[in-house]
Subunit: 130 residues, 3 copies
């Protein structure tokens, strides 16, 4: 198991981590398998989407903020229930095909940490499944 | 493959199954791997989020009920289309890092069966990937 | 790794691919494992839900279209930001339990390619994890 530290800068933000994941895998020789990327947090998640135009990540973040507005009703007293809901919607892990330690993402795809209650330092865990 | 039976009590409800999953895995000696938790139902799903304060699960359930209201328009005649939509949003499986049969969840994380068309008895399947 | 080509017919559409996935796996002898189905696109995703009544897939598609309406505000200039958001919500992969090359889906479950920016030809990748 390897891990990455990611510093987020805003309350809600998609931070691309594709290169960091790729570097953490370099030197592994896995044959065919999958990279299991795991987020151990409950107010952030992981997703795969377009990396070519940063406006896409911006729009995904904005749409999630509109889908789960800050005003509830909420019962959890910390005021970050929308972050928990958004993390549940995008999910806590992604799986990416892997060949000999190289991520086999689609042409336009990147891996994003979806921060919903930042800014914070987040830890992301990587594991190879075969 | 191992399986769990989970009795849900309400129409929509998040039921924490972390301890049941952990017990079902005890005694397995897997080295490093992942626990693949699978929901074979179409009106329930699985998600990972905060287990410390039960108000979080309550808020997630409530937000999903507001996101997908009971009134459609719907074409499926059984009246449970919102349950199918919510199950599609949260997903039918979760993956959790595993070391020697012990779940490696984050500090605040638990595994939840997300019931959207209860009350029912549900079956959840577990498998170890390495 | 095996792959499927799927021709979609509409802008947004759920296309069932269960039989194509099952055929691509036939002849593999895997013991117990999981089938990792991966979508390398950023405006389409994958989900598991009911295959028995096609009205369910129709209702899921409709609900996603209402959740993420075409009018934004959006900053991505291609006009397909809603498709990227919907793909992020449903996710880029599904995992299905596998025994000796046979998918172990629940009674009512099927695997669907969720097209959000069609019509197009899509490629879906399959890999066996054990």
């Amino acid at each position: 198991m390897r891990s990455l530290r990611v510093r987020t800068q805003r309350r809600t933000e998609l931070v691309e981590i594709t290169e960091s994941v790729a570097q953490a895998l370099s030197g592994t020789d896995t044959g065919e398998g999958a990279c299991f990327v795991y987020c151990p947090h409950t107010t952030a998640g992981l997703l795969i989407n377009e990396r070519a135009d940063p406006a896409v990540a911006h729009d995904i973040r904005g749409a999630l903020d509109r889908l789960v507005p800050q005003d509830g009703p909420w019962t959890h007293a910390e005021g970050n229930s929308p972050a928990h809901v958004k993390a549940s919607l995008v999910g806590s892990s992604v799986l990416v095909p892997l060949v000999d330690g190289a991520l086999q993402l689609g042409t336009w795809q990147g891996i994003f940490l979806a921060e919903f209650d930042g800014p914070r330092e987040r830890v992301i865990q990587l594991r190879i499944l075969s």
